[in-house]
């Protein structure tokens, strides 16, 4: 799991005499209680929004507007009347509160029938002043239908755009970005890690310096280059092609790893007449699967998550990625929070799955790019 090696900062109770032992024991108990309370309380801040996202994705359209909000998803209790599923309301009639099925509700006036005798219709106002006459009967129910609804409708139905298409687009871009990143960064990193030639260190400093450069500086010329010069606007190419030309972060990450591979192995191969390319492909790459996995996972994360790139280059909805499609969906239909959350859950699930398959890789990658300067 996340931490195999750990040491504790908690004081270890000193064990001198009996009375001291008892007091330090109770102190340790108190401290343990305190740390549990703190870690759980802060944990709620991370956990509850997650829970809220998942639970909202199962709510009915009525339930998302319920104030105050409830955690669990509620839906109308429905009853079959002449083959139609009608919502049940508690209605205050002249002879007491009755459970009636609502046929329709127009401008605050509802038409109800008694499910037992579906021929008679009654009309009641839903609300008289502050007095609620008819109240829907709800029960806890998970509305799975939100997921297919959200996926099918997308933001702009009718023009071949849906979250299925966005999902596919995101996968395509992520796949090629991973291929490009692996193919282009490994030889560059190898040269910096293992080949000694004049000017190498200067070039490496230039690579590191490009990390400092904000994307905003190069954004406009790159956009014009792809869009106007090459005519690649509204295609995946501007998002994929740059990954085939190496980037500072991955070069750095890979170089750090390549340097840990024993030089003697490479030298032995050189003595046997192997070329640098052979050493690179036959020795270094096969020994580097952990770091290649890290690069793969992080490239996937980056490509899956990227919003600015697709926003600049993709204009027609059938080319949108999940990130862009979700933002578009939100701006088109602000209030369908249940479907928005369902789409968000679908958007998040591949990453959660990747995380549970490659937890060590995730943490290792963060540590490699982060704490080691």
């Amino acid at each position: 799991m996340l931490g195999d090696t750990m040491n504790t900062n908690l004081p270890t109770p000193s064990r001198d005499s009996g009375s001291q032992q008892r007091s330090s024991k109770s102190r340790a108990f108190f401290q343990s209680l305190l740390s549990h309370a703190a870690i759980n309380f802060v944990g709620l801040f991370f956990l509850l929004p997650f829970l809220w996202m998942v639970l909202t994705s199962f709510k009915s359209s009525q339930d998302i507007f319920h104030t105050p909000p409830r955690w669990l998803p509620y839906d109308n209790v429905r009853v079959d009347v002449n083959g139609e599923q009608l919502p049940v309301y508690k209605v205050k009639t002249d002879d007491g509160v009755k459970q009636l099925a609502a046929v329709k509700i127009v401008e605050g006036v509802g038409t109800f029938v008694d499910p037992a005798r579906p021929t008679e219709m009654f009309e009641y106002e839903i609300q008289q002043g502050t007095d609620v006459i008819a109240e829907p009967v709800m029960h806890i129910s998970f509305k799975w239908q939100n997921f297919p609804d959200a996926m099918d409708r997308g933001s702009r139905p009718g023009i071949g755009a849906s979250f299925w298409v966005y999902f596919k687009n995101s996968l395509i871009i992520a796949f090629f970005a991973i291929v490009g990143t692996l193919v282009s960064n490994t030889p560059v990193a190898y040269a910096f890690a293992r080949l000694k030639f004049p000017g190498r260190d200067l070039l490496f400093i230039i690579i590191l310096a490009t990390m400092m450069l904000p994307f905003q500086v190069t954004m406009i010329p790159i956009y014009l280059f792809f869009n106007d010069t090459l005519g690649w606007g509204d295609s995946f190419l501007p998002l994929i092609i740059p990954t085939f030309f190496a980037n500072a972060y991955d070069v750095f990450l890979l170089r750090q790893f390549f340097r840990t591979i024993p030089e003697e192995m490479c030298d032995a191969a050189r003595v046997d007449g192997a070329s640098e390319w052979q050493i690179f492909t036959k020795i270094v790459i096969p020994l580097s699967t952990p770091v290649l996995a890290t690069v793969t996972v992080f490239t996937f994360l980056w490509a899956w998550n990227d919003f600015t790139g697709p926003l600049l280059f993709l204009t027609s909805p059938r080319n949108f990625t999940m990130a862009l499609g979700l933002q578009d969906f939100q701006s088109q239909r602000t209030m369908v929070w249940n479907q928005l959350m369902a789409a968000s859950v679908v958007f998040t699930i591949p990453i959660i799955i990747a995380f549970f398959f490659a937890q060590k890789t995730f943490i290792q990658g963060i540590k490699l790019t982060g704490s080691k300067e």
Binding site: M6, V183, P187, K196, F197, L213, F245, Q330, M341
Partner: protein, 315 residues
Amino acid sequence: MEELRLRKQKWTWPPRLPKWGFRERSNFKIGMLFLLPWTIGFLVFTLYPMLTSFYYSFTIYHARAPLEWIGWKNYIDLFHDKLFWQSLYNTLYMVVIGVPLTLLASFICAVLLNLKVKGQSIYRVIYFLPSIVPTVASAILWLWILNPQMGILNTLLGYVGIEGPNWMSNPAWSKPGLILLGMWGMGGTIVIYLSGLQDVPTSLLEAAELDGANWWQRLWYVTVPMVSPITLFNLITGVIAMFQYFAQAYVFRGTQDLGYPLNSTLFYSVYLYQNGFLWLKMGYASAMAWVLFIIILICTILLLKVSERFTYYAG
């Protein structure tokens, strides 16, 4: 010896090139071949765009119309542009308040996760998971959480007797809302801090304990200085990232105009995007980009200079 030679090379101008032997010569050729992907990428996607955008910053350029040289006018106009100053203020607000708050919070979280409690690894997963939720998804989720009437945050605040603000429609609370969103996804920073905490030598903590230091004193006088290089790293990367803050703000306005409410979420990069891609003032946007670059450079150098006095490097 080698160090001496390097020093000598560094300080002579023009630099004296070392005599290239056969090995260097062939290595150089092979090396250049290996570096080819990066070299092309650097020329096409870094150097050329840098020079071009610097050139654009002195022109009026609307992408399709021919560009027109106007000298320093873009930079002078920026100086008189109220929205420019507003966007700079908004961004500095996030850099000065948001980044340190997030660092402090992630340090506290890392300390908590380093405590010996049952189910530690599960807690670590819970603290980390939000950071891998895609930016757009987490921004939309927080729009929903911060909804004044139907959102869960104001409901929870209501239970303890606090009347929550209107978050995303109140200019005073929109940026704190975004900071909360950022804190929810600070798992990466927590992980870096946590690995730093695990590198603090146990011997130091034990020595401090023998000297009678309590838990707080050990935290403050041993742990905090020992992780100060990590704090500096997180601070610099956090500041650089915050100056480029874009996607969350773009999503957070809901369906309103960029910067809603009342330009309170019009951050530097958002305003730059608006100029360059919505109003097609690409020369003006390029000037903004270069000003941003200079600001980031100055901030980074300042942080590095100031931190020399506060950062402890072991060994």
